[in-house]
Symmetry: C2
Subunit: 109 residues, 2 copies
DNA sequence: CAGGCATATAACCAGTAAGGCATATTAACT
DNA sequence: AGTTAATATGCCTTACTGGTTATATGCCTG
């Protein structure tokens, strides 16, 4: 129910996503250890993320493995899109001073 | 001080950005009329957006013109980037089954 | 210089959500 | 079944923030 941006507004939540992105699946306890957050806190955040479609959960021998579901972020990407064309236009106007602030840029589609 | 995602988490704020994106500059009163929000409310949001570097303000004959500053969104784009590669990879691995399963966002598992 | 717009700011209220602690649930193992 | 490990949930408190109303500021214009 809460929209994607609100979900991402929580720093801890982004940390969780980052962690999951780099590890292809983690147990709650791993996240707790990794991020130094309390277990209930992590569980709560995971729930929000799951509801938002940003992570998936699957039962495992000892615990539940959470994995990133990056496709959930496509909506953000989509929202960003019209703005993106905007700033590329700008870029061209201003003479790439923008690029210098950002090493490797993967060109948008 | 508040991070970009928190700023974007506010629906009204996104509306303002959208409006500015499509109009190349608007006065506060225009935004008020356009979005049906109260003037102080709009002003507050604009301040947040300005602080976040998402809009610029310039004095005008009768009022202040606010313009979109899309480059401010590059950080979001940058954050998204590693995830983006992720989902393109996935897509390619799984043979687009993701796309088909995502007409309107499936219920939670 | 007075009056009026346009906008910002201040003070305040209310909803909401994060975090902590305790407890419930579930699952494996013995 | 009893114990333990892993995770989820409920309750409570607290902090933050959006929204409103009222007021201040600044700028034109007459």
């Amino acid at each position: 129910m809460p929209d994607l941006f609100s979900v991402l507004a929580e720093p801890s939540r982004r940390l969780i996503l980052d962690a999951l992105r780099e590890s292809e699946g983690l147990l709650v306890k791993d996240l707790v250890a990794l991020l130094g957050l309390s277990q209930p806190n992590v569980s709560k955040h995971l729930r929000v993320l799951r509801t938002a479609g940003l992570v998936t959960e699957s039962p495992e021998r000892q615990g539940r493995r959470y994995r990133l579901r990056a496709e959930g972020l496509r909506d953000v990407d989509a929202w960003l899109d019209p703005y993106r064309t905007f700033w590329t236009a700008r870029l061209h106007d201003l003479g790439d001073h923008l690029d210098s602030t950002r090493p490797q840029e993967g060109p948008r589609q």
